[in-house]
Subunit: 267 residues, 2 copies
């Protein structure tokens, strides 16, 4: 039985205040010990970039200063963390999630489904939906709007993910409920870490983020949920073996029962 | 704008009492006028066949007596109906949904994902997820346990379905909520017609069906819901144009935004 202590920090990053946002995170996590910590999408920079140039100014690669401080947080927690950050890669910029431990970046996920004005600021993700080893546990990542596409969580689960870490900056109220379905249909743990607060950096685009960060178990049980509008550090213990077992009745295994020859995904 | 009056009849078929079940349906629908009526899975026979031989004894093809009476109901309603029935096709038996109007069967769907002991009684569906024309509206069908596999509704929606008719005999409580996600992620109308009542025809397998038949709109709104344990005839008016529009923000179209090159569906 593999029991992990998992955590998330829901908070309100202030746009452009990278140092301050990291300091808030360091304070919130000061006494935290855990195996895995999930942070929101774009948690060091804030969300609403005005254009690609602005996003570029904040984007970092694996050697960037934010990554180093996040690695420090991971080290003090005694585990790994998943943080949403703006990633620089040559001339490209991605809305990414970095899997980080005390040594630095273990792996990247680059957001595949960009939402709204993100398309003006970021390149679409080009790494697919990779899965990474945390000891014997396999971890997948997706970001915010990816939730709406069942292909995201499905790709991760079929690749073996026990846990889907899901940094988010949700502005609509639908995702939290849908994560029950995402967990159920794939028999995985999901950890959605959403932000709170507001941003209004583009004309007539006032964004209010909806909080209610959620962890859901492989049977669709909501394990724990954050408040809609307050910062919160939430921890939970999960037995990841439960996500390795896809058998739901004596004669039904949700993966073996798939019938790819009967599906058609062309428009 | 295409407005349709859609209906469902939630009731408790009695096992093996085909004549009586059809009579109940005829009575419940006596005053009904609608464009589309959805009935439960295996609504003429009941659900829990003991073995393949028993299922075979009840299975009918397009010329069967139940189909004729169902065509009569469709004729009196002035539209089409979707009914779950045991279908005979040569030596094969399927847990099927028949799309029927006054002329008889317009099309079949054969359940792709069989649940539990259904595997001992039926052949797995071999027609994929076809979509049928009702005038300018496209209708897809899936049956009960198909809900757990996101590929079912996705296949139908990508094939153009505006409405997914979903006959069911649900014994678990998860599907009703998940249908919100199925509707949202595909921007379609879903009509889940579930049965009520109990069956106990196999040792230690007492089944209680969970009712709460649901219609859901393309934005995830629960339009109407049946009671958990009572028969109900429910009607609603829907504007199917809403399911033709996959644009959800100025820059996001949920179908155009799909990234098949980034997905991997192999185990």
């Amino acid at each position: 039985m593999i029991v992990m202590k998992v955590a998330l920090v829901q908070f309100a990053p202030e746009f452009g205040m990278v140092e301050e946002n990291l300091e808030i995170l360091e304070q919130l996590c000061a006494d935290l010990r855990c195996d895995l910590l999930v942070l929101p999408e774009l948690c060091t920079t804030g969300y609403q970039f005005r254009d690609r140039q602005e996003a570029s100014a904040f984007a970092e690669d694996k050697d960037g200063p934010s990554i180093k401080r996040l690695a420090g947080i991971a080290e003090r927690c005694g585990g790994a963390l998943v943080a949403g950050i703006a990633e620089a890669s040559g001339d490209q910029i991605f809305n990414s999630a970095a899997l980080i431990n005390s040594d630095g970046v273990l792996g990247w996920y680059r957001k595949v489904h960009l939402f709204g004005t993100e398309k003006d600021c970021f390149d679409p993700g080009d790494l697919g939906f990779p899965v990474f080893d945390l000891g014997e546990v396999k971890l997948g990542m997706m970001i915010c709007f990816d939730w709406l596409f069942p292909e995201s969580a499905r790709s991760l689960a079929l690749a073996g993910a026990h846990i889907i870490a899901h940094p988010a900056n949700l502005v609509l109220p639908y995702c939290q409920n849908a994560m029950i379905t995402r967990a159920l249909e794939n028999r995985v743990f999901t950890i959605t870490c959403n932000r709170i607060g507001q941003e209004e950096r583009l004309p007539d685009q006032r964004l209010s983020f909806t909080g209610r960060s959620r962890m859901v178990g492989p049977d669709g049980t909501v394990l724990t949920e954050g408040p809609p509008d307050k910062a919160a550090l939430i921890t939970w213990f999960i037995n990841t073996d439960r996500a390795g077992d896809k058998q739901i009745t004596a004669s039904n295994n949700i993966f073996a029962d798939r019938r790819p020859d009967q599906y058609r995904f062309e428009k």
